[in-house]
Symmetry: C2
Subunit: 299 residues, 2 copies
Amino acid sequence: MIIDKLYELVAGKGHVCIGLDTFAEYLPQDFSRDFDTLDDAIFGFNKKIIDATFDIVACYKVQIAFYEARGLKGLSAYSRTLKYLKSIGAFVIADIKRGDIASTAQMYAKAHFEGDFESDMITLNPYMGMDSLTPYLPYVREKEKGVFVLVKTSNPGSRDIQLLTRDNGEDVYETVAKNVVKMGKEFHGKFGYSSIGAVVGCTHLDEAVSIRKQMENIFFLIPGYGAQGGTAADIKPLFSDQNGGVVNSSRAILLAYKNPLFAGIPFDLAARKEAMRMKGEIADHLNEPLYSEKQLIKN
Amino acid sequence: MIIDKLYELVAGKGHVCIGLDTFAEYLPQDFSRDFDTLDDAIFGFNKKIIDATFDIVACYKVQIAFYEARGLKGLSAYSRTLKYLKSIGAFVIADIKRGDIASTAQMYAKAHFEGDFESDMITLNPYMGMDSLTPYLPYVREKEKGVFVLVKTSNPGSRDIQLLTRDNGEDVYETVAKNVVKMGKEFHGKFGYSSIGAVVGCTHLDEAVSIRKQMENIFFLIPGYGAQGGTAADIKPLFSDQNGGVVNSSRAILLAYKNPLFAGIPFDLAARKEAMRMKGEIADHLNEPLYSEKQLIKN
């Protein structure tokens, strides 16, 4: 089960997932100048960030939209980023949030678990129902792949569908959570977590406690940290025994070189320092600090 | 408003939307042989289908998953298909079903309303809430673009979220429908329909009657016809005054050349005949037949 690999990465390297949502304007100008095209520069930027952080983070999440927005050349930079991550043995989550009828879902599974856009795990949207998720399962069963299903996000719009209360008293996202738990049962790995994971945003403390209780074998991909407002305290209840989730941060890491805290430091090293700071902050909150924050800043 | 163009196309050419979900295995072998690559053949196949049907259908829906499954080269065939459709003035719906937080949605809007993957309208998934849809609106307001939001699909899985009943007695999809109607108000065109449309699958008669009543200014993209089991009778209540929707058919048209009814006819002409047959069938059911079915088969 692929999730065992992610569990071990978290145990060994901490909870940080670096979001490579690489917007062209994030690149330092003097860096881009050395490349023939902006898409080459974007890949070059990603490569430097990866090289500077690979030993200290659990995984990378690549948001395809930022590359798709640049058309075919952007998607080539996306593909090169995924291939580079694979070549060095990094764990890659493709943030694609696909959701479609079965025959189309089969195509998306092929697109993102094989070939140019191959990744380890992908994010999926459940609005069309569980039969829009099952076409990905043969890859989970046989090809060491996994998925994270959107359950509860932390944007204000999450109230529009996810937080609607059903006639049985349950919120819609809780029903989705139950379906994910059920679907995940077949795919539990040796550490008790399923290769069918869930996207659960940084959220209110009490909600987080309830979500972890309802989804005890489910590994969480947790967005919304840092730039989107979530803190280490918010997400603490989503973990159990220091594991069971990765926390994504994108802008705060990619743009760390603009952070006064890291002034004058090259962007890749600044990214490393911010990833280390975040890793320490989360570890501190999970009660067994790996490093003190002071040591981190010095690194 | 872009929706006025689609309304006029339906009024002039009928209700058929051809789904270019072009799977490599759909291509006749003796056709593919003449191309250097399978992706070139896929674009060549699409081009022949488009040329043979452009004068008799309202629009084309291109399902990106079928191209994405073939990686970068597949997406080049997707891009060429969209560009060819644009070059001849055809109306294109990109079936991408995206749904993500605002900053990511902005990227998807750029990706599919500009550049390599530019289309007229796109499909969107509402699970993350209305704030995941609003980033597309500047294009609707200023750039003659539009969207179809997933409301009620016809796959069995639609019961898992869409058909859940709320504590106020409403089904989840009805709440989504209301939100779409509300969001659409700003974008009504001269025929009364909004450039914010909805995806509503072929469904039970009574459900269709209720959906049209709840969404009277909303233009429908209706999948599930033909190969997926929907009939002209099922969808009749989704229209009003012979307009307000397009009906997608993909496999039945792309594979018409394998239909015994069109034996021995080249694939593009067989596609035309099936599109004509379908157009006639829908028109007959909408009470004012444009053509008799007999004439259509002879065409």
